[in-house]
Every structure is written in structure tokens, then in C-alpha cells.
């Protein structure tokens, strides 16, 4: 049957060339997303034919899927746009004003929250829930098993007390203690997060005084790529900068830990590589 490959090709073309047509695949719901974290999950799990629109941030510097996002219409977070696009489901990030989502829920749009997941079980549960909601459960399981495999690959062999220490700083001076996805990433990569041991928990920062007394083996920093380096807390504070200059500073791209999502594994792998370098230097 020589006609068959041509028929398949035509079908493939028909599917790929109608990325926004609502009738392209009747079994998959159409999905729009508000906010960076929701965009990341939709772009990670969604089928191209089902993505109605993503936020403008999805093509920005903090988006891991910036290139993929360019193929889809951008929304400005207004309910009108979601209704006009015919979306059945709205994925909405934690940080986004819930008014628009609340309005949409009144008009029959299924609103799915994408909370900030702060540990690996939460990340898996969130991924599974979003995948199920948008009809992509298999894709969700694939992402989760990939995440588990990659985490296992970098899992540290040494006991915890032998791990090098790290402190995380954001440009605004905030850090990450217990109960944050940054802490989960540092532990997964085999770093002892000193802020988790000293406090404060969550997103406050460690006082410089403690760093002067007990400097960490490395400083992990992020979001410095999207904010001015010169004005960051590390540079602004001469005492802190004095310490930081004598230690490796691992700069994690903001797009890897924009949210607590499976993307965090990218940050973990970067940190784990840094740890290997550090341990190799120690051995020599």
C-alpha cells in the first residue's frame, strides 16, 4: 500500500500546521497559563496542539522553555483572552493575582493552581496533578521517572557530615532555609545548606556576622543574571564580598530554579558538578 506513508505524512502535516485550531485534537483540553511557574509546567507537559496561550514571561530570561514558548500566543493575564481563546483549563501560578482566575472559574473554565512545591515529593505530586488535569498523565509520569533517574545519578556517596557547605543568596539579600526548593536542590546535590542548620527557615537571609565566623565552602547565587551584579548584596557588602571572593561562587541560572518544578534537576546537576570539582581540588 504505497499511499499509506503519504497519507500519514499529510495527517502529520495537518496536525502540526494547525497548532492553535481548537478542533485539532478533540480528546485533549485546551489550556492557557498565567504566571511563570504555570507556563513552565504547561510547556513541559502540554501537547503543542492544546496550548492556547502562555504568559509574556514565558519567553523571558527566567523561562527555561523560552524558545518553545515563542510558538504560542502570549497573554497578558486577562480573563477576556482566555475566554476568546476557547481554553477549557487555566493553569495559574501562586504569585499571580487570583481575581482573573476566580472570574474565569465563574464562566466554566477549569482553574488549576500550580503551587510552589518546596520538596521532591511535592514537586512530583504537583507534576502528576497538572499532567492529569490537562490530559497528559503519561507525559507527567515520564517527567517524574526522568527526574528520579537523574537525581539518583548525582546522589552523593559520602555521609552528610562530609558534604561541603553552601549558602544561598539572592540579589536582594534573601536566602533559602528549610522548607524551600532551593534547600531541596542543595541537599540533592550533596551540599549542606548552612542556612537550613542555622535558620531562618524559608526565604529570609543569613546574617553576614555568621558568615564571617563560619564561611561556607561555596556560595550559591541565583537571579543575578536578571538583576544588576554590581548592586547585588554580595558586592554591596564589603565584608560579605571579602568572604565570597575567597570561595567559589556558583551562579545558577534563574531559569532553573524559577519555581519548585522538575526543572530544579538542572540546578541540582550544575551544583553536583561544582561539588565534584571542589572535592577533586581537596584531594589534590
Amino acid at each position: 500500500m504505497p499511499a499509506r506513508p503519504a497519507f500519514l505524512l499529510c495527517m502529520t502535516l495537518a496536525f502540526t500546521m494547525a497548532p492553535t485550531a481548537g478542533a485539532a485534537n478533540p480528546t485533549l483540553p485546551r489550556v492557557a497559563s498565567f504566571g511563570l511557574c504555570a507556563d513552565q509546567m504547561l510547556l513541559m507537559l502540554g501537547d503543542s496542539r492544546q496550548i492556547a496561550s502562555v504568559s509574556a514571561q514565558a519567553v523571558g530570561p527566567l523561562s527555561f522553555y523560552a524558545r518553545r514558548a515563542r510558538a504560542f500566543p502570549a497573554n497578558r493575564g486577562a480573563a477576556e483572552e482566555v475566554i476568546a481563546s476557547g481554553a477549557d483549563i487555566l493553569l495559574v501560578s501562586d504569585a499571580v493575582d487570583k481575581r482573573s482566575a476566580h472570574a474565569l472559574a465563574q464562566f466554566g473554565v477549569d482553574v488549576v493552581d500550580v503551587p510552589i512545591a518546596n520538596n521532591w515529593p511535592e514537586i512530583e505530586a504537583m507534576t502528576r496533578r497538572v499532567a492529569l488535569a490537562i490530559g497528559r498523565a503519561r507525559q507527567g509520569e515520564a517527567v517524574i521517572s526522568d527526574l528520579r533517574a537523574r537525581l539518583a545519578r548525582v546522589r552523593p556517596q559520602q555521609p552528610r557530615r562530609a558534604w561541603p557547605t553552601a549558602i544561598y543568596y539572592r540579589p536582594d539579600g534573601g536566602g533559602a532555609g528549610t522548607g524551600t526548593f532551593v534547600d531541596a536542590a542543595l541537599s540533592a546535590a550533596g551540599f549542606r545548606n548552612l542556612q537550613a542548620e542555622w535558620g531562618p527557615p524559608f526565604w529570609g537571609g543569613v546574617p553576614v556576622e555568621r558568615i564571617v565566623l563560619h564561611p561556607p565552602d561555596v556560595f550559591a547565587v541565583s537571579y543575578f543574571d536578571t538583576s544588576s551584579n554590581a548592586s547585588s548584596v554580595l558586592r554591596r557588602n564589603p565584608v560579605l564580598w571579602g568572604k565570597a571572593r575567597t570561595r567559589p561562587v556558583v551562579n545558577i541560572h534563574g531559569k532553573y530554579w524559577n519555581c519548585g518544578s522538575p526543572l530544579l534537576i538542572e540546578a541540582v546537576e550544575q551544583l553536583a558538578a561544582e561539588r565534584e570539582r571542589l572535592l577533586a581540588r581537596r584531594r589534590n
Binding site: E80, A84, R99
Partner: protein, 340 residues
């Protein structure tokens, strides 16, 4: 109603001015329906307004653009009317709803709902908490207004309430568990009527109507008060009743407005000053034009934030503050020149 002769500075009657402003308001209301995030041609827009277009377009026009238009006008009318009455009541050209701390207290109520996560689980808790905040401030103000004879005390107490509200709002932001919660509170404080629905309209409307009625009822007595508190009292003015009406009216109208839209600054300050050169210095004559004009001003601002088609939508309070602060400075400098 007119107990005082019209001063020479009056350039236009109150009635014609109100008609002109109503015309502008009506025009802006229509314009507001045509502007949004989705282009809808005029023909379809009319069909949708009467429920005869496709369901999506009808929902957009009837359930999103109409409530947004109504709320913008209501919020502006409340602020304009309250500003006009308070400037007359407090003999202070810089008075506005914020002066009495009502805006701040309502905002604090909303921030409490956001901070404790009530707003995420029960969306209506946010406006209800904001109204409770306004109600608490009102009770304090009314007690002061009844017990104290001085207008100055009222201003000082209002400033104090506003200060406490700002302090507690800052505390909530300071204690926020993560940076995202701070941004949510900050954005809400900047004010917006984006994506409100009729449930918010029905919540605010009764309070705004009663509040505006109280403000209009208080207006005529303001003229007597402009002769000085003692003279006014000797002419039979019941000053504490006037204060009660003005404070209750402001709380109801502005409190309900803040509850659904966040705080929209400077409209209450600006509007009476824009109207005054046209109607003269008689306080009562500024109230109705300020109500209509305030509605038009906020509606126009809400149209502008939607017309700026790049980046995230500007919050309404940001735009009114951008317009209002230069005006405020001008006012201060202008008043200084007028002083002997």
C-alpha cells in the same frame, strides 16, 4: 438648598456642568466597553451587549467588560464625592478619603485576608475583610466626631488610623513567608478593576449608593460650615450630625470601593479642585460634579491602562498617582503663593 449667593468666580452653573460631565461619563462608559484585550468589532459588540453574539463574546462583554466599567465609575464617583465633602468639612484643601484613614483601614482589611490565605480559599473574604477594616475606622472616627468639637482632632485621629493601617500592612509584608506573597499584596494595594465580575458589583453597589446619598445629603450644610464653625452653629447647624453623615458616607462609599478595587489614589484630592474653578468656592456645589467627574476620571484611567498594550497591565492606582502627584505639588505651591 442655596443659602449663599453665588460668588463672582462661578463661571458655569452646577446643572450645566453636571450635564456636560454626565455626557463625558456616558461617552467613556461606551468607550470602556469597546476596549479590551480582545478585539471585538462594533457590530458584534452591540450584539454581545444584548446577548445575541456567540457565547464567548457575550461573556466577555456582558460578564467582564460591563462590571469593570460599572466598578470603575462607582469607585471614581465615591472617591470624588468623598473628597469634595471632606475638603468642605475639614476646611482643608488637601483632605481626601485617605486623610481620615478609611482607605488605609480598608486596605489593611484586604491585606489581612491575603496574608492569612483567606482570599485564596474564599475569594469573597477579601472584600468583606476590607469592608470590616473600613467599618472599624469609621466607628473610631464617629466616636471622636461625637465627643470632640474640633475638626483638627478629626484630621489628626484620621492620620493616626492611617498610620496604624500602613504600619500593620508593612508588618504583614515583612512577615510574609515568601517573596511571591509580598508581590501579591503589593500589587493588590496598587488598585485595579481588572477582571471583576457582577458578584463584586452587587457587593459594592448598595454601599456605594447609600454612601453617595449620605454625602449628597451632607453637602448643603457644608456651605454654612464655610462661614466658620461658631458662626455656623449660631445659624443652627448641627455640626456633629454633619460630621456623622460625612464620615459614614465616606466609609460606605469608599470602603466598598477599596474592597473591590484596592486603593486608587489622588482622585478624591484632585476632583474637587478641578471642579471648583468652574462652579465657584461654594462647597456644596462641588459635590455632585465631583461625583460624576470622579467616575469619569477613573473610567478614563482604566481605559488608558488597557490601551497601553505592552507588558503587564498598569495598576489603576499607579496611573492615578502618576497624574495626581504632580497635581498635588502644583496645589501646594499654588496655595503657598495665595497665602499672605
Amino acid at each position: 438648598m442655596n443659602r449663599l449667593p453665588a460668588p463672582a468666580t462661578s463661571r458655569i452653573g452646577t446643572a450645566p456642568l453636571c450635564l456636560i460631565l454626565l455626557g463625558i461619563l456616558a461617552g467613556l462608559m461606551l468607550a470602556s466597553l469597546t476596549i479590551g484585550y480582545v478585539h471585538i468589532p462594533p457590530g458584534r459588540l452591540v450584539q454581545a451587549a444584548f446577548g445575541m453574539a456567540d457565547p464567548a463574546t457575550t461573556t466577555i462583554v456582558q460578564q467582564l467588560r460591563m462590571p469593570r466599567m460599572i466598578l470603575a465609575a462607582l469607585v471614581g464617583a465615591s472617591l470624588g464625592g468623598a473628597g469634595a465633602v471632606l475638603q468642605g468639612l475639614l476646611h482643608n484643601p488637601l483632605a481626601e478619603p485617605g486623610t481620615l484613614g478609611i482607605t488605609g483601614a480598608a486596605s489593611l482589611g484586604a491585606v489581612v485576608a491575603l496574608y492569612f490565605g483567606l482570599a485564596a480559599t474564599v475569594p469573597m473574604s477579601l472584600p468583606l475583610c476590607a469592608m470590616s477594616g473600613a467599618a472599624i475606622a469609621t466607628v473610631i472616627l464617629l466616636v471622636v466626631a461625637r465627643d470632640s468639637a474640633s475638626t483638627l482632632t478629626l484630621i489628626l485621629v484620621g492620620t493616626g488610623i492611617g498610620g496604624i493601617a500602613i504600619a500593620l500592612t508593612s508588618l504583614a509584608m515583612n512577615l510574609s513567608p515568601n517573596p511571591w506573597a509580598v508581590s501579591e499584596i503589593a500589587m493588590w494595594l496598587l488598585g485595579s478593576v481588572k477582571d471583576r465580575t457582577f458578584s463584586e458589583v452587587w457587593l459594592a453597589l448598595p454601599f456605594v449608593i447609600v454612601g453617595l446619598a449620605a454625602l449628597l445629603a451632607a453637602a448643603p450644610s457644608l456651605d454654612l460650615l464655610s462661614l466658620g464653625e461658631d458662626t455656623a452653629r449660631s445659624m443652627g447647624l448641627n455640626a456633629s450630625r454633619l460630621r456623622t453623615m460625612a464620615i459614614a458616607g465616606t466609609s460606605l462609599a469608599v470602603g466598598a470601593g477599596v474592597a473591590v478595587s484596592g486603593s486608587v489614589g489622588f482622585v478624591g484630592l484632585m476632583m474637587p479642585h478641578l471642579v471648583r474653578p468652574l462652579v465657584g468656592q461654594v462647597p456644596s456645589r462641588t459635590v455632585l460634579p465631583s461625583i460624576i467627574g470622579g467616575g469619569a476620571l477613573v473610567l478614563a484611567s482604566d481605559i488608558v491602562v488597557r490601551l497601553i498594550a505592552i507588558g503587564p497591565e498598569l495598576q489603576l492606582g499607579v496611573l492615578t498617582s502618576l497624574l495626581g502627584t504632580p497635581f498635588f505639588l502644583y496645589l501646594v505651591l499654588h496655595l503657598r503663593r495665595q497665602l499672605p
